[in-house]
Symmetry: C2
Subunit: 253 residues, 2 copies
C-alpha cells in the first residue's frame, strides 16, 4: 500500500480541498471520516474512489476489501484531513450520488427552498431519514449536502435515502406531475395548522430559508400552506426543529 | 454620558469575561446584544445593570430611559464586545433571573439532564417557548443558559418563560411533589411511542445528554418512558429536534 507521510503532499493538498463545495462539485467526489461512516458507505454500496487510513488500521478487514484503492497516511496527515480534533484515522473518498435526473416522486418528500445553514440541512436529512421519508430535494442555493458541516449533522443518512439538488421550481413541477400534494410551510396564522390536516400518503413538504421562509412564488405553487401554531411567545422556530415537528406531525396524523 | 474609546479599558475587559459561564455565575449578570433583545429585556422588565451603545444610538429613546446606567463606546469597543461580525452597537448587562428556589411546578415543564451543546439548549428553550411550556429546568452540568452561544439560539425566550438550573434529582423530586407526570425520553423501542399517550395537562418532559441520553437513575424515577418511533434507518435524532417533536407531539395529542 502506498504511504503518505507529509501533509504537504500534493495529493493531500487536493483532498483538503474537498472541504469546499466548489471542489466537491468540480470533482463529483466527497470525503467521509470515521469507522461508522466508512462502514455504512460500504454496507450501502457507495462508489468508493479512495480509502485513507493511518498505519494502525492498515490490516483492518474493511480496509483490505478496498486494498486496490487504499493508502496509508501518517498521523500528521490524518490530522490535516480531519474535521475533528482527535481523528480516528480512517477516511473514504466517495462519488457524489444521484446526479442523474429524477423522473417521478412517490411517497413523502422534503424540499428545501434555500436552507443555508449546513447544520440545519444536515439535521433535516437525518430527521427525514428517522421519520421514514422517501427522499429530499434541495434548491440550488441551499447548503450543499456533501460539505463537511452538513455531513457531521447528517450522520450517514445520505446513505439511507436519496438526496437530490435541483432548481426548486423544477422540483415543484416534478411533484405536481407525480401527483404529490405539496405543503408549503409558513410562519403565518392564516395558513392551516399542520395538526388539522388529513393524513395522506403522497406529499412533498417544503421548508424555507432561515430568515425569509419559503419564497412567495413557491408558496403560491403549493397545494396547501401549513403552519405550526405558536402556543407561547416565541416569534418562530429554528427551521430544523420546525421541519422535525412537521415531518413527524404529518407522519403520525 | 461616559464614553469609552479603547477596547483595552478595564471595564471593557471585565465585560468581555461575561462570555464565560464562570464569570456569569460569579457576577450574577450576563450580556445581551442587539436592539431586538435589549428592547425585549426592557419590555419584560428585566433588571438592567448597564447599557452600552455606540454614539449613533446615544439619543435613542430606549437608551435615554436607561440614561443613569448608559455608557457610549467606540465602534472598536462594540466590535470587541460583540459576538457578531457586524455589531448593531447596543448591549445591555442584565441580572441573571430565577436564582431563588422553586417551590412548586404547574403545567408543562421541560427538564434537561446534561444537554451540553449550547445550540441545543438554546434551541430547546426557544421551542419550549413556542410550544407554550410553563418553564425549563436544566441540570447543573447542562450548558449554561446565559452564555453567548445559548443566547444566540434562545432568541430572547429567556424573557418569556422561567428558566432554572438545579440538581436534576431535586428537579424530579419537585415534579413528583407537584404531582406532575414525569416522561423520560429514550431511544428505546421498549418505551412507549409518544403519539400513543393520552393528553394530560401537568407533566415534565426529561431530555438527555447528546451522547448518553437520560441517565438511568433519572429514567427509573420517571412515571413513563417514551420514545419517538424511528420509521426509517437513522439511529437517532438530534436532541433539539427530538425535544421539538415531543413537545409539540404532547401538546397536540
Amino acid at each position: 500500500m502506498k504511504y503518505i507521510e507529509s501533509k504537504k503532499n500534493d495529493e493531500i493538498k487536493q483532498l483538503k480541498k474537498l472541504a469546499s463545495t466548489k471542489y466537491i462539485r468540480k470533482t463529483g467526489t466527497y470525503m467521509v471520516e470515521g469507522f461508522h461512516l466508512v462502514r455504512e458507505a460500504d454496507e450501502y454500496e457507495q462508489d468508493f474512489v479512495q480509502v485513507l487510513v493511518t498505519e494502525k488500521y492498515a490490516e483492518d478487514r474493511l480496509v483490505k476489501k478496498y486494498h486496490d484503492i487504499a493508502v496509508t497516511v501518517s498521523e500528521d496527515v490524518a490530522k490535516e484531513l480531519s474535521e475533528t480534533k482527535t481523528p480516528q484515522g480512517i477516511f473514504a473518498v466517495l462519488k457524489v450520488n444521484n446526479t442523474e435526473s429524477l423522473s417521478e416522486l412517490t411517497g413523502q418528500w422534503v424540499m428545501l427552498d434555500d436552507v443555508q445553514d449546513p447544520g440545519n440541512v444536515g439535521t433535516i436529512v437525518r430527521t427525514a431519514d428517522a421519520a421514514g421519508y422517501d427522499g429530499i430535494i434541495t434548491s440550488l442555493d441551499s447548503a450543499d449536502f456533501y460539505q463537511p458541516k452538513v455531513q457531521r449533522s447528517m450522520q450517514g443518512s445520505q446513505f439511507h435515502l436519496p438526496i437530490y439538488r435541483m432548481d426548486i421550481h423544477k422540483a415543484i413541477d416534478l411533484a405536481k406531475e407525480s401527483e404529490l400534494t405539496i405543503y408549503g410551510s409558513e410562519v403565518n396564522e392564516q395558513a392551516k395548522p399542520y395538526n388539522e390536516l388529513e393524513k395522506i400518503d403522497n406529499y412533498a413538504l417544503v421548508m424555507g430559508n432561515e430568515a425569509h421562509g419559503v419564497t412567495q412564488d413557491v408558496l403560491n405553487a403549493c397545494d396547501e400552506n401549513i403552519y405550526i401554531p405558536i402556543l407561547g411567545k416565541a416569534e418562530s422556530l429554528n427551521v430544523a426543529v420546525a421541519a422535525g415537528v412537521l415531518m413527524y406531525g404529518l407522519q403520525t396524523l
